[in-house]
């Protein structure tokens, strides 16, 4: 069975149909990209997977479990926002560790995990900086990590690259790939 299954998903906002009959199956570890004109429902699908919108019709199954009407915080789906949505009042380390802190993990585990994460994106010296002290690319990578704590099972990103050159798009993809490799090895060990 596929890890994420979406069946016959519909979403309308009032009279506007945002999404009409959407089916998808994704296996564990797959890297999927949505491509399409603006307004075709890419973000709407992601928001429904994360649980910010509820579908008008259709079913979303995650790991064999129907999550269609489950609340966001019970789904454990990470999401990177287009605006990054880093918490401005917290340092990079606190931003990355936030997901672990709200699930009440022990302090040293959080610290270890945050260090690992920063090592992964090769930016170990920015831990004590605030989001506004980072460059755009650094913010992007921190946002990706911050939504990728150990307990997350899946990560969606609405992060369309505004500068659509391959050069700027690829670091994000590489980070993504490295993160998934790291979580996969974590699961198998």
């Amino acid at each position: 069975m596929a890890f994420l299954e979406i069946e016959n998903l519909h979403k309308s906002f009032g009279a506007n149909t945002a999404l009409h009959h959407f089916d998808m199956k994704i296996e564990r570890g797959e890297f999927i990209t949505f491509l399409g004109p603006s307004g075709c429902g890419k973000t709407t699908v992601l928001r429904m997977i994360a649980g910010f919108e509820s579908p008008t019709r259709g079913v979303i199954r995650l790991d064999g479990r129907d999550v269609t009407h489950l609340r966001t915080r019970q789904r454990k789906v990470g999401m990177v926002f287009q605006s990054y949505a880093l918490f401005p009042n917290m340092t990079v380390a606190d931003n990355i560790g936030f997901g672990l802190r709200v699930t009440r993990r022990p302090q040293d585990e959080i610290r270890k995990r945050v260090d690992e994460m920063l090592e992964l994106i090769k930016l170990p010296n920015i831990a004590e900086r605030y989001p506004w002290q980072l460059s755009g690319g650094q913010q992007q990578r921190v946002a990706l990590l911050g939504r990728w704590p150990a307990s997350r099972r899946y990560c969606c990103s609405t992060n369309r690259s505004r500068r659509s050159t391959r050069k700027s798009a690829s670091p994000c993809g590489r980070t993504f790939a490295r993160c998934s490799a790291s979580s996969a090895s974590r699961r198998s060990s």
């Binding site: 454990k76 990470g78 949505a85 506004w132």
Partner: protein
């Protein structure tokens, strides 16, 4: 043409400044003349060493702090929720929060006395602690327009929706989102609301007087009616307190502003 308009602006500035400064300087001057023939701070010494001043000022400070705590806990979640989930209700909520500016405090206090008098179902005016509570609630109402506006301006400056959703998908509960994410990010808004509330409560007369509580406002009135030099000294002290509050708003507001400018410089 240009110099002409500048002359006009300067004239307006000078006339305006004189309008505000002359009475103020006259008050300061008068408050220093308690001792015949020389300037002295006698009036201030008398005021500051009066136990009733200390008691009433302490009482009003305490009431102000309680008002701020209750006001923040009431207004922040409300404004947050309205912004996030009920944007259509915003004009209605804004109108309601402006009502205390339109309805005089004396109307509110007579309403209180009718509803909560000692022969009513909820006799809050029956004992002193309950009356204090009623007074704090009244102050929260009076300060509502200032508190709501400050907090709402703070919320407008951050991307409330994205931050909430980001925290939510990481598994944070509503109290965690409110206290760990929303409160720290609108700190300057809350602080300016708090200082404005403080200034309102310290100088308030109507509610405290008609509920017969020993607050600073009624004390100010009592001294004003019975003494010559002390009221001027008290007025200056009250001004200084208000200015200090406004200065603190500026300090916290600009600290926040400089952080944002730096953020704006980064692409």
């Amino acid at each position: 043409m240009k110099s002409q308009s500048r002359v006009g602006a300067w004239t307006a500035m000078i006339v305006g400044s004189l309008y505000f400064l002359i009475p103020l300087i006259a008050t300061v001057e008068f408050s220093l003349r308690m001792r015949r023939g020389v300037y002295s701070f006698d009036a201030y010494r008398v005021v500051l060493s009066d136990p009733r001043f200390q008691a009433s000022f302490g009482y009003s400070m305490l009431m102000a702090v309680l008002t701020i705590v209750i006001g923040v806990l009431l207004v922040v979640p409300t404004a947050y929720w309205v912004r996030l989930r009920l944007p259509k209700l915003r004009p209605v909520v804004e109108f309601i929060t402006l009502l205390p500016l339109v309805i005089p405090a004396i109307v509110i206090v007579f309403g209180y006395l009718r509803i909560y008098n000692s022969s009513s179902i909820l006799p809050l005016t029956g004992n002193e602690r309950a009356t204090d509570l009623l007074l704090v609630f009244g102050y929260v109402t009076l300060a509502l327009p200032y508190m709501y506006r400050s907090v709402d301006a703070g919320l407008a400056a951050v991307d409330v929706r994205s931050l909430t959703e980001a925290a939510e998908c990481l598994g944070a509960s509503w109290p965690t989102i409110l206290f760990k994410v929303i409160f720290p990010n609108i700190r300057s808004g809350i602080l300016s609301g708090a200082f404005l509330t403080f200034a309102v409560v310290i100088g308030e007369f109507t509610l405290a007087s008609l509920l017969d509580r020993p607050a600073f406002g009624p004390y100010l009135q009592l001294i004003g009616a019975n003494r010559a030099y002390e009221p001027s000294a008290l007025a200056i002290i009250a001004f200084v307190i208000t200015w200090a509050s406004m200065g603190l708003i500026q300090v916290f507001g600009s600290a926040r502003g400089s952080a944002r400018t730096l953020a704006g410089q980064k692409p």
